[in-house]
Symmetry: C2
């Protein structure tokens, strides 16, 4: 069974919000956006959240880069959102699927070292065996650079932001290869004072 029934890459998306816990939240958000090249994704922002759509590699590249550039300010920043692919109610609109695969922000992202904590949950849709899909496809033991623990409703990852996003990306990617419609929620937090006791 192939999910790529249309013969092309599938549209991935992420609906997320960046939350700087600071009076300077507007500057931190705009400053991060200024450092990130979003030209390979469709992007729309309102007062509640930002939506990016396009090839999966660019959706993860842009989301990770925005969080990294906000977190490197040293302020307590968090990001919360949902990745999605293959929703039957989705349209072909609002996606830049013809872009080349090379991620635009990888080089700059690699220069930022930033620890964070993240909780995520995977939701393979429309399958009675969805719990198996979750258990079988996610082998987080491969990600030696992130510490994995379990919480109610979520899996927690601790480590460098780049390693966390790599684990998120690979988990999402491996499940969507088997299940057409997948969503993945995540909440990531850096520079929290409650983590510096």
């Amino acid at each position: 069974m192939s999910n790529k029934s249309c013969g092309t890459s599938r549209i991935a998306g992420c609906q997320f919000t960046l939350y700087p816990m600071s009076d300077k939240f507007v500057d931190i958000i705009l400053g991060a956006l200024e450092e990130v090249d979003t030209s390979k994704v469709w992007k729309d922002t309102d007062d509640v959240s930002t939506c990016v759509r396009g090839k999966m590699t660019h959706v993860f590249d842009v989301t990770k880069a925005i969080f990294l550039h906000a977190a490197k300010t040293g302020d307590h920043v968090a990001m919360n959102g949902t990745f999605s692919i293959g929703c039957p109610g989705d349209t072909e609109a609002d996606a830049y699927m013809d872009e080349a695969d090379e991620p635009l922000n990888e080089e700059k992202s690699q220069q930022i070292s930033q620890q964070a904590g993240c909780k995520f949950s995977l939701y393979p849709m429309g399958r009675e065996d969805y719990m198996d899909a979750i258990y079988k496809q996610i082998d987080l033991s491969k990600h030696r650079n992130v510490e994995v623990s379990h919480a109610h409703y979520a899996t927690r990852l601790d480590g460098d932001v780049k390693d966390i996003f790599q684990a998120l990306h690979q988990s999402f990617d491996s499940v969507q290869e088997k299940v057409s419609h997948v969503t993945m929620t995540f909440a990531i937090s850096a520079n929290s004072p409650s983590n510096q006791a």
Copy 2:
């Protein structure tokens, strides 16, 4: 088909984070928590998120009250999270299911008027007809006090925070009556400067 196979109420939960976009974020969070009676839910907080578990009515009562008391400060505050019920991987632990149904924070919440914008998505799990479950069970037209619009991956609600949470609660409740395992993500935002142009 009944979901209440154990003959008792089912454990509901919410994994959420409150995000005050302010240097005073710690005071705003602690201040809101001080005003909210959480004694009818199990609660656990770390640097990434808070988890509350118990009867559905109390989980919504507490989550709504925490957001309301934080938003009434006038600062830009947001909350992002996932409601969940019926996860087959869930345990019976960490829930206070013997509490009486009367919500503890309703009276105080009713006294707060606060406009907000919210995006939410419902995910009925383990069912091939899950899109029908979403379309059939959610009749947001009943909620005359909230403005309903559609975004990629989400439905947007605008109105008073209490009306928004009522619409969330009723949508979640009506889907979980038909589908055993349901999750619902939400992002709600109040006092955003980008909404005061």
